[in-house]
Amino acid sequence: MKNLNILLAGVFAAVALPFGALLLSGQSQLGGLGRAAGEEGGALFPAREPGLAIQGREVYLSLGCVSCHTQQVRPAGQGSDLARGLGVRPSVARDYVLQPQVLLGDRRIGPDLANYGARTSQINVETLLTDPASSGVVWHPSYRFVEAAQRTALVAYLKSLRQDYPSPEAKLKK
């Protein structure tokens, strides 16, 4: 503990070990993942985001929506996400391979949005942003200041969020 070089070498090793074991191994396992078909000859998923959705993702980031909304469905045994109907299968790593910034989130003040686009009972997001009370979601803050074009892009982004396609790693809930 008296020799600075040994001390720094030990600390470096302590940091490098988890970096190599967790991050580099994780990258080597997941880094090569790409789009795949759930069944032979089927369409490739996840689908590419349309241009408007890419703009909407920027609005989502800019407003800080990730502070309150997650985008991940946990497997059975890890919470009640599937039982609550947040998705038809757990999220898998392949679902996120096309996303430039993965927005998993870690607070669920609002509902999870991983499958917003696949939901049958969608609320009107434009109304939700401008007048939450009239949309029936009184707890959502008002975003009246968001311009109409940005609102349209945000809606397109939310509708592009879906994990209801078959994936080689996860089966759809029967």
């Binding site: 503990m1 600075l4 940091v15 997941l30 980031l61 003040i109 803050p141 200041f145």
Partner: protein
């Protein structure tokens, strides 16, 4: 508080006539005060934003509903960055520099470099937070600021915070102390971790969920290996210094140091249990979180063992520095135990996505780290400025505001998180019911945020009053 502290008399003065010590302190005065004043200004700003955030939560359609730059997401991101990079980093630039200079009898001859680092750090942080308010956010906590901020902050960190390592290398004696190991380790780790995380998340983003993995590793390293290690260094210094006795079971301190640095970096993926990352990575995180109990238990034996002997707790209660530091030491033990329990799959399934995680983070960053910084400030500032604390009443207001405020916040986050977790686990509860349950804790959160703000304002008034009163350099004012 002791009679000495009631009168605001500086604690821990060096023996009169020890000109070497006073020269050491005089050489630190400029950069120390720059770091410290910046830290307090950022703390006030962060406290105000925390109050705005809790008001926003409590009345989502409330006072800030039409204010674009005060959306909840932006305010929370700005508050987190100001609290960590503004308050805690600046404060540890100052405290670590002082600690290692004292322990290594290091006369600081390149103060302008540290000052330059501090100026660049704070200007860059101001720019980064302004961009956050303008809506240029990344989606990763503590990496939210625009990516061009990262390299500048890393260079500024090297200029401002690398001096403790120089002080360690140039110490005149062969003997070393636990505080020195922790500070050297912390100062060495942060730039490495920060640059790697910036690279793999923002500059050349890793594929898909690997970004989340890198982010979890980064957060655990920053919170534990920079903030946590620096605060542990301070506890290892101030506890024996003020109590005037050796640390109980001090021979275990090297084990605490190495196990802390060995296991802390593995705990990150414990925050991803249930996420779409491979199970073995999640399990590695859970094991890391459980193994972190080893240094937590050792530090508990060291700190609480010292406080339990010869009326240590009574003295801690009656001494300003020790009161804050021992509050932090207890909080660190509580944090270690809670984070290990919450990491396992059962509790994690219940508590993920609730405010419990926020509570755990604040148990570490406020109840432990910030309280220790406050304790250190009460010890160091009188020596650096050569002045007395202007008001003992403000010291009381500061302690009780901070202590009650953080206890209230922790109650709201931890118990509220537990309650919400149970509702989320029950499939019968609608999301509106879950939110209604959560909102019942928001009032306590708002009141606690007000208490914290009051405590911080009292601290700032006292500290700035003291600094303004000190006109002469410490060496001439105290010893000549």
């Amino acid at each position: 508080m002791s009679q000495d502290n009631r009168s605001g008399r500086p604690q821990g003065r060096p023996p009169e006539g020890d000109s070497r010590l006073s020269r050491v302190e005089a050489s630190l005065r400029g950069p120390f005060l720059l770091f410290f004043v910046s830290a307090v200004v950022w703390l006030l700003a962060a406290s105000l934003l925390a109050l705005v955030a809790s008001l926003g939560l409590g009345s989502l359609a409330g006072p800030f509903r039409d204010c674009e730059f005060l959306t909840y997401g932006r305010v929370v991101a700005a508050e987190r960055n100001l609290f960590v990079y503004g308050w805690a980093f600046n404060a540890f630039f100052a405290v670590n520099l002082w600690l290692l200079s004292q322990l290594g009898r290091f006369e600081f001859r390149n103060g302008w470099l540290a000052t330059l680092g501090g100026v660049v750090w704070n200007l860059t942080l101001t720019y980064g937070v302004a961009r956050l308010f303008a809506g240029e956010l990344n989606g990763f906590a503590l990496l939210e600021m625009p990516r061009e901020v990262g390299p500048v902050l890393a260079v500024a960190f090297l200029l401002a915070a690398f001096w403790p390592i120089v002080a360690f290398a140039r110490r005149p004696t062969g003997h070393t102390f636990a505080s020195q190991w922790f500070v050297v380790g912390a100062s060495f780790v942060f730039p490495l971790v920060y640059l790697l995380a910036q690279l793999m998340v923002l500059w050349a983003p890793a594929s898909g969920v690997v970004q989340a993995l890198v982010h979890s590793w980064f957060v655990s390293n920053v919170l534990l290996l920079w903030l946590g290690a620096s605060a542990l260094a301070a506890v290892y210094y101030f506890l024996p210094k003020v109590l005037e006795r050796t640390i109980s079971g001090y021979y275990l301190a090297p084990v605490a140091f190495w196990t802390f640095f060995l296991f802390a970096g593995w705990t990150g993926p414990a925050a991803l249990v249930g996420s779409p990352v491979p199970l073995w990575l999640q399990s590695a995180g859970v094991v890391g979180a459980a193994m972190l109990m080893v240094p937590v238990i050792i530090t508990a034996l060291n700190f609480h063992g010292t406080l339990f002997t010869q009326g240590g707790w009574a003295r801690a209660w009656n001494d300003t520095t020790l009161r804050f530091v021992s509050f932090g030491a207890v909080a660190f033990t509580a944090y270690g135990a809670l984070q290990a329990c919450a990491a396992f799959r059962g509790p994690s399934a219940l508590l993920r996505f609730t405010s419990f995680g926020v509570g755990l983070e604040h148990l570490l960053t406020y109840a432990f780290v910030t309280m220790v910084i406050f304790g250190a400030a009460y010890f160091i500032l009188p020596r650096i400025t050569g002045s007395l604390w202007p008001s003992s009443k403000l010291v009381h207001v500061h302690f009780w505001g901070s202590a009650l405020g953080i206890l209230g916040c922790l109650t709201a986050w931890l118990f509220g998180g537990w309650q919400v977790g149970q509702l989320l686990a029950a499939t019968s509860a609608a999301h509106a019911d879950v939110l209604r349950s959560e909102s019942s804790w928001f009032f306590l959160l708002t009141v606690s945020s007000v208490l914290l703000l009051v405590g911080h304002v009292a601290f700032a008034l006292n500290a700035f009053g003291m600094i303004l009163k000190s006109s002469a350099p410490v060496s001439s004012g105290r010893h000549d």
